[in-house]
Symmetry: C2
Subunit: 236 residues, 2 copies
DNA sequence: CAGTGGTCTAGACCACTGA
DNA sequence: CAGTGGTCTAGACCACTGT
């Protein structure tokens, strides 16, 4: 049945919103089977591809589960996932409306310690650059950075001037894309951290560890410690 | 020009992989303009829709930026984002291969404290249920939970038996979907936390705070403290 | 205002998998 | 083996936006 006066087509967003609201309202409860794509296309009076896109995105968003032949079901417990942007410190600070300042604390090249070699699966020979840096927001300590760079993979790092540009920003320009593993935890400030962040020894600090690879080779590993009270927040 | 002997079609995944590799290899460098969809469709010998899907996903993944009329460019600094699954504690523990055990520590209803009222934008009247719970992995303390449930929105909670089922699992069955704000930080264990987690007072613990809403009304707020040494890890 | 991406269509074939 | 989602196509119209 075609409605003569219809002006606007049904978009995949309309369909997403409609299905979402049916789930939120409890009309389609967790575990229940949704109509198949052909049936939905009929009821929304649109092409199957349009329904498919709506359903595919709902599945990506973790709201429904889809299986060939078995159909689509509302997830029993909606798979919740949160997304975090991994910002450059500079941007993070500037977006707080604060003045960013960077300082190089230490820089030395040499053979990697064993734990780093194991962590990054580094070859037996080859040197790494070890840097320590501070990032300030409006003059106050914001983040302390302990970084290792694989000099075998990035020999340019020998000549880079890390006293003016932070290693993160420098790396972004060198390695177009990389795979990374990131982890968050709480740790107690040791002497170095407490000195640099200006907090008591053993103060609880939020710690970020990240290791990145490019084409299977380790690029860099870093540990970041945030000033006490730091929070990482997101909505979903 | 049609290739007679071609067996397999070019899929959008092939195209994604090919473009990704061109970016990784540095053939298309950050900031550079990619061919438009029509041109790519020709060069891959496929429909524009196929190219479109590949490019759209690359954009979602944060690798390229797309603008009408302006075309698609490799992002200057690839927008990196990490996704975390927000698991039920039970599953988190079971996936570690450990035995899960739950215990209710405290349960009492009453008027919400002011900070909670402000945090959740609760109305002036109405009560909340305040629970404290422990989650164990193989008998060892894993997570301590401090939770508030909006009894105005969820009066069923009056009758729920939280001595056998954790509030998170119970809530999942009551509220099909919700919006949430989540944040992570490091904090020092207070008396209650150290007692329950069996760690020294002032030990650094990883803290998760989450508040959730359904149709604009506050459902629940929770603070979770993990045993010392806990890490939250992901790859991207 | 013209070029680019955004979306929809109607149809087709295929891959997977539950019954 | 039959039903469902996964994907591709060729074409079309439209929305946005830089020039």
């Amino acid at each position: 049945m075609t409605t003569a006066g219809r002006i606007l087509k049904t978009t995949y967003k309309d369909i997403k919103a409609d299905i979402l609201s049916k789930i939120v309202q409890g009309i389609w409860t967790p575990g229940s089977l949704l109509p198949n794509e052909v049936a939905l296309a009929e009821s929304y009076d649109c092409a199957r591809a349009t329904v498919n896109r709506a359903m595919r995105e709902l599945a990506e968003d973790g709201l429904i589960e889809r299986k060939r032949k078995a159909g689509s079901r509302v997830r029993l417990s909606p798979l919740r996932q949160a997304r975090f942007d991994i910002p450059l410190v500079r941007r993070e600070i500037e977006e707080l409306g604060a003045q960013y300042r960077y300082a190089l604390v230490k820089s030395e090249a040499g053979a990697p310690p064993d734990w780093l070699r194991a962590r990054l699966q580094l070859p037996k020979t080859g040197e790494v650059l070890h840097l320590a840096c501070m990032h300030y927001a409006d003059g106050a300590p914001y983040q302390f950075e302990d970084r290792w760079i694989n000099l075998t993979l990035l020999p340019q790092a020998w000549e880079a001037d890390f006293s003016s540009v932070g290693p993160n920003e420098w790396l972004v320009g060198q390695v177009p894309f990389s795979n990374a593993e990131i982890s968050f935890s709480a740790t107690a400030a040791d002497k170095a951290i407490s000195d640099h962040l200006g907090c008591p020894i053993d103060a609880p600090v939020f710690q970020v560890e990240r290791a990145t690879w490019w084409n299977g080779q380790a690029v860099t590993a870093v540990r970041l410690w945030h000033r006490p009270g730091h929070r990482m927040t997101t909505r979903y």
